[in-house]
Amino acid sequence: MIDLSRRRLIKAGIAGGALLAIAGGITWFARRVMNEGAPRALDRDALAIVRAIVPAMLAAALPSQEPGRAGAIDETTAGVDRAIAGLPPAARAEISQLFALLALAPGRRAFAGVASPWAEASASEVDAFLRAWQSSGWALKRTAYDALHQLVIAAWYANPRSWPAIGYPGPPTLAV
């Protein structure tokens, strides 16, 4: 079992390195996608990617219909944007590479396997992409899945709007 893990790791390391090289090669593009230094970190292309991922990541955790659903998706997307803006420059740069890779149609199709443009992608199409990356043999894809998981899920569950459905009463009130 240990040998199997090692083989997997070595394979993942090589493949991950190749993917990173491709991502690094288009870092120039990242500067167009990302708007570094501004209070909001993501531009329109990157926001469209996040907005497509939010419903697939959260699924039944989101309100299933209006009123509530669109606002919940908007607020979660904005929360991801705020969270990225608060990260140190090195982490922002890595995330910008990820979104740069996914924003280009060839990258989206080849690496995420998502045929439709992000704004038109269905939740099931995005869910399939997330599952593939979650269990990928490429360490870098698992890393990217973890980053998207952490960003989107933290943004939703930090929002008091999410609390009634999970039975969290919110922080206590301190009597003066």
């Binding site: 079992m1 240990i2 199997l4 893990s5 997997r8 790791l9 230094g37 697939a56 990541m57 959260l58 699924a59 039944a60 955790a61 929360g79 969270a83 803006a85 608060g86 990260l87 140190p88 420059p89 090195a90 982490a91 869910d127 997330l130 979650q134 269990s135 360490a139 698992r142 890393t143 973890d146 980053a147 998981h149 952490q150 899920i153 933290a154 939703w156 569950y157 930090a158 929002n159 999410s162 609390w163 459905a165 999970i166 039975g167 969290y168 922080p171 206590p172 301190l174 003066v176």
Partner: protein
């Protein structure tokens, strides 16, 4: 909506500022700043806080530099959305180089002590014995350190906490009892704790005796200067001494350096930026390191998680976190043997729970919908005692910021597999309906036998098995032998006469327990010696 303006409880920090404490927020500097002091301390956490108080009480002029902001009880609103970005390194999302371990470290005035979960243990005798026997470190035995631990326990209100544990911790005690395994109550550094459960977001009632409300106020009242939102860039070395400290102000977001420089000239310099920050400062400075030790042997207590659903409400978000522990799997094997682990029960707030549970979509949502019935155990693996557990290495990125490379080895995964089994057994013994060892896509089991069978076959691997850490230790180990230690038995740098390391990076192994009291006690001893070496004697406690 009076939260922002009217403190709900007396706020000693705002009172101190009003009384004229010398505190500078470097993000607001309009010109460069030059400071002279007897001692410059980098970092305001467990190490820097104790050092600041000790040295200020000895009559020395102290300046403390802190990378994070000054926040206090009036700001602590018990919301994860505020606390993680404001009070933690990298918004509580700091990762090791391969991203396989999430490292939670404080970054605010008070450092980790402002956001930790109050668990207070003296350094375990097995750890100190290993330091003495295997590493040849004298003077750090149980008896030698006892008075220093006693002093800091008295200073910080560390005592048995007699309130019944919340249901999350009670389940740990109940399961352990059913299995015939010892568990015990955790001592806490609190005075008049309200038992709210929000220690990790900054204590809103000032009950937690963090550095923020204890040692730092004493130092500031004795004339110490505190500079916040400033990053120590490098110690400039001249001969066998540090000549000055060069630092850079950060902007209001706290992430990006500005053009404003802060320069400190002092007789003595104390590195207390934690076990990632301190080695990084030395690496950036190019301080002498003839044996290539700086940043090596950095330890994490790599930690895994087991979630359960109980038949009754647990409400793990309410009540003090981490009040019960079991050292059964540490005490029943020698530190030098296979990896042992400590069991504890963490707080369960929505964001922390949600990012820890694996997977996404409807399955993740179903688990979160059961948050009130969720019971969670964590296993902290003891690292650094076995040849196959050499820890990690702190290195620098191109921009000079640190990153920890910590390989997860078969030795650690072996301990984690046993820990998953132990936690599942214990949770079922405590009455769990379902247990999910947090691994892979997050498979859940209805019986201990089913869980055991699956755990035996888990393919544990980086980025498949989520691993977290809240305890960074090592990287500037102390010891007599310069070939094996960065600093001597007083914490003084082996090659630089006026540089001390006084924080968790001193430890030559992991501690094998939550480290705050180890840092308090050992730094109290070393800071006392430093005061004496500068010609001062701190008043008796």
């Amino acid at each position: 909506m009076t939260d922002a303006t009217q403190p709900r409880v007396p706020d000693p920090i705002r009172a101190g500022l009003a009384a004229g404490w010398d505190v500078v927020d470097a993000s607001r500097l309009s010109a460069d700043l030059a400071i002279e002091a007897d001692v410059a301390i980098v970092g305001s956490g467990a190490g820097g806080g104790v050092a600041a108080e000790t040295l200020a009480l000895a009559g020395l002029k102290v300046v403390v530099l802190e990378e994070g902001p000054l926040r206090s009880s009036s700001d602590f609103r018990m919301r994860e959305a505020d606390a993680y970005p404001e009070l933690y390194q990298e918004s509580a999302a700091r990762k090791t180089r391969d991203k396989a371990i999430n490292v939670m470290q404080g970054r605010c005035v008070g450092g980790g002590t402002t956001v930790n979960w109050t668990s207070s243990f003296r350094t375990p005798p097995a750890t100190l014995d290993h330091w003495a026997r295997a590493l040849g470190i004298p003077g750090m035995g149980v008896d030698a350190l006892a008075p220093w631990f006693a002093k800091m326990e008295a200073r910080l209100g560390i005592a048995p906490w007699d309130v019944p544990p919340n249901a999350n911790n009670a389940a740990l005690a109940r399961g352990a009892a059913k299995l015939g395994i010892p568990s015990a109550a955790i001592r806490r550094n609190v005075r008049g704790c309200w038992n709210l459960g929000y220690c990790g977001m900054g204590c809103p009632t000032n009950a937690k005796q963090s550095m923020l409300v204890t040692t730092l106020p004493t130092a500031l009242s004795r004339g110490a200067k505190l500079v916040t939102r400033v990053r120590a860039e490098r110690l400039v070395v001249a001969g066998d001494k540090v000549d000055r400290l060069e630092a850079r102000a950060l902007d209001a977001t706290g992430t990006t350096p500005t053009d404003r420089r802060v320069t400190v000239r002092a007789r003595s310099y104390v590195a207390a930026g934690g076990a990632i920050g301190t080695p990084a400062l030395l690496l950036r400075s190019g301080t002498p390191d003839p044996h290539g030790l700086v940043g090596k042997r950095t330890f994490l207590h790599p930690t895994i998680v087991s979630a359960a659903i109980m038949p009754e409400r647990v409400d793990g978000f309410a009540g003090a976190p981490q009040t019960v522990y079991s050292d059964h799997w540490l005490d029943t094997m020698p530190p030098e043997g296979p990896a042992g682990f400590k069991l504890e029960a963490p707080p369960l707030h929505p964001v922390l729970a949600a990012i820890t549970l694996p997977g996404h979509g409807d399955a993740h949502a179903r688990w979160m919908a059961q948050l009130p019935k969720m019971q969670v155990l964590i296993a902290l693996v003891r690292d650094g005692f076995h040849p196959d557990s050499p820890g990690g290495t702190v290195t620098l990125r191109e921009d000079g910021t640190p990153v920890l490379d910590y390989p997860l080895t078969p030795y650690l995964f072996d301990g984690m597999r046993r820990a998953f089994r132990a936690m599942a057994d214990l949770q079922f013994a405590a009455g769990a309906e379902t247990v999910m060892p947090v691994h892979g896509p997050g498979e859940a089991f209805a019986t201990a036998a089913a869980a055991r069978g699956a755990i035996a076959a888990f393919e544990l691997a980086p980025l498949v098995t989520p691993v977290v850490s809240a305890h960074v230790m090592g990287g500037c180990p102390l010891g007599q032998d310069p070939r094996r230690a960065v600093v001597d038995l007083d914490g003084r740098h082996h090659q630089l006469a006026n540089l001390h390391v006084l924080d968790g990076s001193l430890f030559p192994t992991s501690i094998g327990a939550n480290p705050q009291l180890s840092i308090y006690g050992i730094v109290a001893k070393l800071a006392d010696a430093l005061a004496a070496s500068l010609g001062r004697r701190p008043p008796a406690a």
